[in-house]
Subunit: 113 residues, 2 copies
DNA sequence: GGATAAATGAACCATATGGTTAATTCTGAA
DNA sequence: TTCAGAATTAACCATATGGTTCATTTATCC
């Protein structure tokens, strides 16, 4: 098990950079090559490669060879840890403990499955 | 206007550290002094102060003097930018463009208000 | 007023982060 | 089989981050 705190560190860390958020949003519209992703930015290719590495190790994207290019795509459930943490947090301080119980039970069921 | 990208940078950046997330969760259960927040961690007080500074400039908490202590509390809408970004993102790649339109309209209305 | 406690500030250190340029790998095409 | 393009790796640099210790402010209590 890859410690849930580490996952959250990496997920939120990946989202804390605007270039990476822009890349994610671009990829939401569909797959793209590394070159296509780099085009809008005034930044070298290696810089983009580094950002893609961060996104990939955070489980937010995946890359696969396609000829001499590489196609990047979103990993569908990559944002779930971040969403779940935020949901739990807001329900907590909203004092909605009844909803929180339901939420936690659902989480547990999902992780056991 | 404090550039929405900067807000997201700071918000996700603040959440990318497990000590700060733990502090936020602790504060969800109710106010606490800096000393109470520091107690569970094997870390100096100045380190905690720094984390609190990060959380405060990200708009996630606030501090107020109370005698010779300071009481920290959660800022209720501090997580909203992060939540909204995540919601928009997941709706997008889920292909739920109809729901996305509704969401964006609601966002716009809220920001205009 | 003087001692003590809570929190912060200042200075410092090691490592992480985000960028660069130059070299390298891998693949497709002439 | 050589050439050219896409992407990554390597090496480097400046700044940010997360921690430390020591000094300082602010407020309480005797």
């Amino acid at each position: 098990m890859v410690n849930s705190e580490e996952v959250l560190d990496r997920t939120f860390g990946a989202l804390s950079d605007r270039t990476r958020r822009a890349i994610l949003r671009r990829l939401s519209a569909g797959e793209a090559t590394v070159g296509e992703l780099a085009a809008p930015f005034d930044m070298s290719m290696p810089a983009i490669t580094k950002h893609l590495n961060v996104l990939e190790t955070a489980g937010l994207i995946q890359r696969q060879r396609d000829g001499r290019m590489k196609r990047c795509s979103v990993r569908q459930d990559g944002l779930k840890p971040a969403e779940d943490w935020l949901t739990g947090q807001t329900m907590f301080w909203n004092g909605q403990l009844d909803q929180l119980e339901t939420f936690l039970a659902r989480e547990k069921a999902a992780s056991d499955a």
